[in-house]
Symmetry: C2
Subunit: 218 residues, 2 copies
DNA sequence: CTAAATTTTTAGATATGTCTAAATCTTTTT
DNA sequence: AAAAAGATTTAGACATATCTAAAAATTTAG
């Protein structure tokens, strides 16, 4: 049996490896989970024993096929539950993360499958993130972060890559959500901040915000 | 913070005290939870420290107002989730217990309230058991167990008091569910088994089955 | 290419919740 | 009312998952 803590470690390792390449470091995991490097070290040994990760001391870690499958399944559950919370229980997209973090650990294949059917097999969650299928496939989209666009380009917001309330609340305040049309007006080289136009409004946002907005160009 | 194990103990204590009076014994709790009397003893001390139960060594235990409130809340969540699973995810009434045992521990007031609204404030769960309201009120019904009815009486099944798959599957096989009209034909004094008529079918069931069927007489 | 800085691991504790076996208290039986 | 039976508690372990502090390995910098 896989425990709740183990599931969280696997999910963290998968998250990190999706945004970087090569082995995942102990410190990166500690940062992601919010625990000490010592605890991570301990846990990596346990995950190794269970054949969920490949781990060499001081050399970082990577998921085995089995570990990847568990991690993907947790992400699938998380995103399906977020979809349910927003679509059916009328939660705001900034309010669902913490509850979904709990719901993702409910153990029942049948439940996940039926929830998926109830939601009519959604492909993306309320943040525009792809929902892995039952077989673990994650659809990719040809989107790029807003901060990588060149000046004068038009596009549409397809997703956000940060699921934290302060960030999502700020986007709501800026009138930005999934589907919003955005034109990149100007990039300031000094601090990488950018000017954008949404509707008839000109706004200025930091690079930290822009890098978490996934854009599909027109 | 109240832990998952503590919630289960409180729920068990409430369940037992609803079906008996006076203090709840260590052994009864051990039986309900499926653990040893020693573990129960340990846990009762912790619950006492948290002011969730009143406990005197060797003298049994009872819930404080605070403990009762937590326990009722867990039962509320359990029954709301069972309702969701049956009504919306098309689970059979015998399949929902184990999943609901997990879902009942999800921590979010907001989630429970919104689920309640989504389900349109149901008063009874799929087994006919009353769902406590947000303020902890549990509606009572004037039903009696089938084995307490007198011969010749007609009535309708309003609920079952056992949420276990083998029992519920057997009822399904007997064509008995919530709403079924039943006439008690004969009580056998030897083993307290009874003959009943449902629709045009005569059937014979044991006292163990009959005592878990709640009947409202016509 | 050594020395300092950083990262990672080990060692030793702590908290939770469980267990078995033994001791103690309570209830029942004779 | 003493002995036996039953229920409950204590004592001592164990597993999980965490922590801090110290040690060891690796990486970076001069």
């Amino acid at each position: 049996m896989i425990t709740l803590a183990e599931e969280n470690y696997l999910k963290a390792i998968l998250s990190i490896s999706l945004n970087s390449d090569g082995k995942v470091s102990t410190n990166a995991i500690a940062g992601e989970i919010g625990t000490s490097a010592a605890s991570v070290s301990d846990m990596l040994k346990k995950l190794q024993d269970k054949k969920l990760v490949k781990y060499k001391k001081y050399k970082g870690v990577s998921l085995t096929k089995k570990g990847n499958s568990f991690a993907t399944s947790v992400i699938r559950k998380h995103r399906l539950w977020e979809t349910f919370l927003v679509n059916n229980l009328n939660f705001d997209w900034g309010e669902v993360h913490d509850v979904a973090e709990q719901l993702e650990h409910i153990k029942s294949e049948e439940l996940v499958d039926r929830l998926d059917a109830f939601l009519d097999y959604p492909k993306f969650d309320p943040h525009g993130e792809p929902i892995p299928t039952k077989d673990g496939e994650i659809s990719t989209t040809n989107t790029i972060p807003l901060n990588k666009l060149s000046e004068g380009t038009n596009g549409k917001v397809m997703g956000v890559t940060l699921d934290e309330k302060p960030f999502l609340d700020y986007l709501t305040k800026l009138n930005i959500s999934i589907g919003t049309e955005i034109k990149l007006l100007e990039k300031i080289s000094f601090d990488q901040s950018i000017s954008i136009k949404t509707g008839n409004t000109k706004q200025h946002i930091s690079n930290d915000v822009a890098k978490h907005l996934l854009i599909k160009t027109n």
